[in-house]
């Protein structure tokens, strides 16, 4: 049986500092760095110490810190592996956001309208290559930006609350990512109208 979770199942844009105080801030930094390392090599496969040392050069933590936090373990052949604890925690906290209602999905406290908007964003992003109506895309983009501003204002009212509400915060980060992707598409599309 293969290990079920791959890098594609995890939202790379997660900042584990939003998991404080569930995670200690130091551990959150370790999670961030280790996920960035996995992302840089696009793999959870085992690695050699030199590869990792090159990646974390100049960083205040060393490999031993990751081992002591049970995020990395040494293999018999002296290579190193990401632990189940690390990968499973990444997936628990930051699943890739395109989960459907037919499968387990995050229990969120966001209003239904925001949920629907989130789904719309995904649908829009999926349809983009076939969508040649730039004005429609731009209109959606403006709508989504307005919602993002509302969410930002909402969270600015209480920092503690948004740290506790990880579901909502994670969704917010996903929306930000979508905005960036939509913006990139529009920029390209406007420069190359034949696409």
């Amino acid at each position: 049986m293969d290990y079920p979770i791959t890098l594609d199942d995890i939202n790379w844009d997660i900042d584990f500092r939003v998991c404080v105080p569930m995670l200690e801030i130091r551990t959150a930094h370790l999670f961030n760095k280790l996920l960035a390392f996995a992302k840089s090599r696009y793999s959870f496969d085992s690695f050699q110490i030199k590869e990792f040392a090159d990646f974390i050069r100049g960083y205040p933590f060393i490999l031993r810190d990751f081992i002591e936090a049970s995020l990395v373990e040494q293999n018999e052949d002296e290579s190193y592996s990401f632990t189940h604890c690390f990968v499973a925690t990444c997936f628990l906290v930051a699943p890739a956001c395109n989960q459907t209602n037919h499968q387990p999905h995050r229990k969120t406290n966001l209003p239904d309208s925001l949920e629907q908007t989130f789904d719309l964003c995904h649908q829009l992003l999926t349809d983009l290559p076939a969508n040649s109506d730039t004005r429609l895309v731009q209109r959606h983009l403006r709508s989504i930006r307005a919602i993002i501003q509302d969410i930002t204002h909402w969270y600015s009212q209480g920092k503690e609350q948004h740290l506790r509400d990880l579901n909502a915060w994670d969704r917010f980060i996903c929306l930000e990512t979508i905005i960036g992707q939509l913006g990139s598409f529009c920029s390209t599309h406007l420069r190359n109208p034949k696409q």
Binding site: I5, T6, D45, L92, A96, Q99, P104, R106, K107
Partner: protein
């Protein structure tokens, strides 16, 4: 994208399965009231080999009928799992219970199927 964790990726143990989950650090941290419910939910999911929504009646055959001898008692437990401050179960629009990502991924983190871990390590080597 398919949800990556299937019911068979989670190890629910044998006779001591309830104890297995009771000792899990994650559950102690969260303050689980009833590990037996966790195990029964997982047994039901494994018997169906999916995470599809379910009713109280669907769940009844998997729970200890000495302790939970009526649907009303089972419903109280399941409703507690769906309470606002917990994320283990949700509700569908038609009133069924549904598994949440938090439930599945926490169970997988606590207790992955041994062969999936071993196989993964072998592949890496």
């Amino acid at each position: 994208m398919n949800y990556p964790i299937k019911p068979h990726h989670i190890f629910i143990g044998f006779e001591d399965s309830e104890l297995h989950f009771r000792n899990a650090e994650e559950l102690e941290t969260i303050g689980s009231r009833e590990p037996a419910i966790f195990v029964a939910l997982l047994k039901m999911a494994q018997s169906r080999d999916n995470w599809s929504p379910f009713t109280c009646e669907d769940f009844q055959p998997f729970i200890d009928n000495n302790r939970y001898d009526t649907l009303a008692k089972i419903r109280i437990e399941l409703d507690w799992f769906t309470s606002d401050d917990l994320a283990w179960l949700g509700r569908t629009e038609d009133g069924k219970y549904r598994f949440t990502h938090e439930f599945v991924s926490t169970c997988f983190k606590i207790s992955p199927a041994p062969d999936c871990i071993v196989q993964s390590e072998q592949q890496e080597q």
